[in-house]
């Protein structure tokens, strides 16, 4: 009886203790029960019959030699709500979201797509050094972001801009980060797509793969201790799941019982490495049970499937303080980044299939159209509008007179040029420094350890200066030297 009550506490009191419950309980063993609980005491001193006593596993004996065959032929099934044409398959799984919300899904995904195109072009034009697109994976971002609370903490890898887009991160800030201009919250320190936003609870992207996984677990543990009613979601690709940090993260999330959602975007490629070379098991979802983690595999290009799975995972992660693993199957339609040309390792036909036949945006559009919430006219209109929006924010960012960290755009007779400050005293330039030199040094957290006789490259990043328009002063190239 006591066991049942305990189980009910673990599983959520609204659920009865059905067959699944008992199975879960057996697998849980005595998890969730206090050390002093009689059931726990009982386990240790077993009866006289010949049952295994090993502390390491809760199992029966078997006298037949049999290796467990990893099941990769028919692996964990893929949960979906819509078919490829955007039609609901099982009406009871339709989340029945209001029109406004579904339109927000659609607009977020398409705006992201538009922004991706324009920023990719920017890199090709030499305006930014690097960019990574999100083509084909918009559904995974928006579906999961929509299922979370706005205060839930997000740890991303680098291909989750849609999460920020859904949380209404302004286009200007996306641009500012990529361009490293004065509006950049990161002050021009990070390479493009390494977004971070404190107000939107999106932890700044870090380049080394999978390092965010144990960090996310730690954050979730902190949320649990604070009783914050908050979940942490941790995104990573199927390639990053090969890193040692992923193993440590999963194991700790389970043993420390953290309210965390591990969201794996399995998009088929890690740069050029296909999944067949990345792992031999049944994807990432199959690893979850190995750690004692509730796991599911979903169709990542079905935004409702992603939404449903994330919503339920969130509810239970917080209620039961346990981790969940969602493996969203999708396809990376774009190149890995602007440094990659994926035609070197995959066929154009393959890419076209996903672009034309199984794209999260078109599937949602078909759904919208079948509900009468969208039509071709609105589509045309919205495309024009979103392009205009992105272009406007781009112009704001790279416009003449704009100020970049450490430099300025200045008008000269030959046209707009980027200047750095020369060795002259700032006063000569007719400029108003935002911060005094000593203030800049202090702010840069780097003391001035080297006397002027030591020529350390004058590196201290300095605050932007507000320059008077139209002064037409010619500034020699160079940099501010701290004396």
């Amino acid at each position: 009886m006591a066991v049942v009550t305990a189980a009910a506490r673990v599983l959520g009191s609204s659920r009865g203790l059905g067959q699944d419950g008992l199975l879960l309980l057996r697998r849980l063993g005595v998890r969730g029960l206090a050390i002093s609980h009689p059931q726990r005491q009982q386990q240790r001193f077993s009866s006289l019959d010949d049952k295994p006593q090993f502390p390491g596993a809760s199992a029966e004996f078997i006298d037949k030699l049999e290796f467990i065959q990893p099941n990769v032929i028919s692996g964990i099934p893929i949960y979906r709500v819509m078919d490829r044409q955007g039609q609901i398959i099982n009406p009871s799984e339709d989340p029945n979201l209001p029109q406004e919300k579904v339109l927000k899904f659609y607009k977020s995904m398409t705006l992201l797509n538009t922004m991706d195109r324009i920023l990719y072009e920017s890199q090709r034009q030499g305006r930014i050094s690097f960019y990574m697109t999100n083509y084909g994976e918009e559904g995974t971002h928006v579906g999961s972001a929509a299922a979370l609370d706005n205060t839930d903490l997000v740890f991303g890898q680098y291909r989750e801009a849609g999460v920020l887009m859904y949380r209404d991160y302004p286009l200007e800030l996306f641009m500012a980060q990529c361009y490293g201009n004065v509006s950049d919250l990161g002050k021009g320190r990070q390479m493009p797509v390494h977004y971070g936003c404190k107000e939107r609870h999106f932890v700044t992207i870090s380049s080394p793969l999978a390092t965010q996984i144990p960090q996310a677990v730690g954050a979730a543990y902190a949320a649990k201790r604070a009783n914050a009613n908050r979940v942490v979601i941790c995104y990573f690709g199927e390639g990053a799941a090969s890193e040692g940090d992923a193993h440590a993260g999963f194991n700790f999330a389970a043993t420390l019982e953290c309210p965390i959602i591990f969201f794996c975007r399995n998009n088929g490629y890690a740069i050029s490495t296909p999944t067949s070379e990345q792992y031999r098991g049944d994807g990432i979802a199959a690893r979850g049970p190995g750690y004692g983690i509730m796991s599911i595999r979903v169709d990542g290009n079905d935004v409702f499937a992603v939404y449903n799975a994330t919503k339920e995972a969130r509810r239970r992660a917080v209620a039961e303080n346990q981790p969940f693993l969602i493996e969203a199957m999708t396809y990376r339609i774009g190149h890995h980044s602007t440094s990659d040309d994926s035609s070197a390792y995959r066929s154009v036909d393959e890419v076209n299939y996903w672009d034309k036949q199984d794209h999260p945006i078109s599937r949602l559009r078909h759904y919208l159209q079948s509900r009468g919430w969208w039509d071709d006219e609105q589509e045309k209109d919205w495309r024009k509008q979103s392009r205009k929006k992105v272009r406007a924010s781009l112009w704001e960012t790279s416009a003449p007179g704009g100020v970049f960290w450490g430099a300025a755009l200045w008008r000269t007779p030959e046209g707009w040029k980027v200047w750095s400050l020369g060795d002259t005293e700032l006063g000569d330039l007719g400029v108003t420094p935002v911060m005094s030199l000593s203030g800049q040094a202090a702010w840069a957290h780097a003391p001035l350890p080297y006397p002027s006789s030591v020529a350390v490259a004058p590196c201290l990043p300095f605050a932007p200066l507000s320059l008077k328009r139209g002064t037409g002063v010619s500034i020699s190239e160079g940099c501010v030297r701290i004396r």
């Binding site: 320190r189 890193e243 040692g244 490495t273 006789s453 004058p458």
Partner: protein
């Protein structure tokens, strides 16, 4: 009768650093069956920076191996293979990611020969791009010369031009010790003339020997990797003003060829070190300390000076990045200050 037979036509070929490393690896793969290359994207993709272009096509899956994404994993596998008698070349996409495997590099590769009393060699090569690139910010731009140069048990080399790159990778592969080869991404595409001697299959650059790239009398300028080119540029500018710099290309970080530097300082009486890495506990710091401990100290007419990268994580914005690495004008400034000009 013209001594035609005495004429040696030295055919100079333009070879990029990338091609030089590729050639070096190709020749060693051909020479010794035990040599193999592993890392992320090294096979069909031809390498993340195309350094292993064509090798998978030529040698196949058994010699050129793509690994899953786990630096710790594949570095460990490579170390194990080396212990078992193979000669792996372990490529890190950049040395920044080697931090995820550093336990394997130091605790397993570097220390094992000593800890086993000489019984267990680890003939492994760790290679990849090191140091600053362009517009890739802090986590892709750190220089690891000082980190790896600190550890006994490792040999650490840092090539500058194609001749260095080819000769050093070959020496590294033939060396029975763990060798860290710190390449430079920005140098990969730079062509240099390779003499016919350097083009031969047995051309080796000895590990532990620096090269004097330019003779001079007024000041010794010591550097490694890409900054060597900047030092030579600075020397060209200064020679117009009558200052003759002796530029030394270290080639090897560990074991450091301090003798060449000492001999040069005893001749010129002035020393400037130039590196891309951070100043604290860096390569320049070690050079200065050793000069003080050796005979060359008494020949110095001015304190030795270090020109280094800025003591900050590499920023992304172009103008900030440019000012975070030593530029030619900084080297000139340091040289003039040292010479009190």
């Amino acid at each position: 009768m013209a001594a035609v037979s005495g004429l040696v036509r030295r055919s100079l070929e333009q070879v990029t650093v990338r091609e030089a490393i590729n050639q070096g690896m190709d020749e060693e793969l051909e020479r010794d069956e035990k040599v193999f290359l592993l890392g992320e994207e090294v096979a069909q993709y031809d390498g993340a920076y195309k350094v292993s272009r064509g090798l998978w096509k030529k040698y196949g899956d058994k010699r050129i191996i793509d690994t899953p994404i786990s630096e710790m994993g594949f570095a460990g596998i490579a170390v194990g293979a080396a212990m078992a008698g193979l000669r792996p070349i372990c490529e890190f996409m950049t040395f920044n990611f080697s931090m995820q495997a550093i336990d394997q590099v130091i605790n397993s590769a570097a220390k094992t020969y000593y800890m086993s009393g000489g019984l267990q060699p680890v003939p492994i090569v760790f290679r990849g791009p090191n140091g600053a690139s362009a517009g890739v910010a802090a986590q892709h731009s750190q220089c690891f010369a000082a980190w790896y140069g600190h550890c006994p048990g490792l040999k650490v080399v840092s090539p500058w031009n194609s001749e260095d790159a080819k000769g050093l990778i070959k020496s590294a592969i033939r060396d029975n010790n763990p060798v860290v080869v710190l390449e430079n991404e920005l140098m990969y595409g730079v062509p240099f003339e390779l003499s016919s001697e350097a083009q031969s299959k047995d051309f080796l650059v000895p590990i532990g020997k620096a090269k004097i790239e330019r003779q001079g009398t007024h000041i010794t300028v010591v550097s490694h990797s890409r900054p060597v080119g900047h030092c030579l540029e600075a020397a060209t500018v200064l020679s117009k003003e009558g200052i003759e710099c002796e530029v030394i290309n270290m080639r090897t970080i560990r074991p450091m060829d301090i003798e060449t530097i000492e001999a040069s300082v005893m001749k010129t009486n002035h020393l400037v070190t130039v590196e891309g890495g951070w100043p604290q506990f860096g390569v320049g710091a070690e050079i200065c300390a050793r000069i003080m401990e050796g005979p060359a100290f008494n020949f110095l007419d001015a304190p030795a000076v270090r020109v280094t990268g800025a003591d900050v994580p590499m920023p992304y914005a172009k103008i900030l990045e440019d000012n975070s690495v030593p530029q030619v004008k900084d080297i000139i400034f340091a040289i003039k200050k040292t010479l009190n000009i």
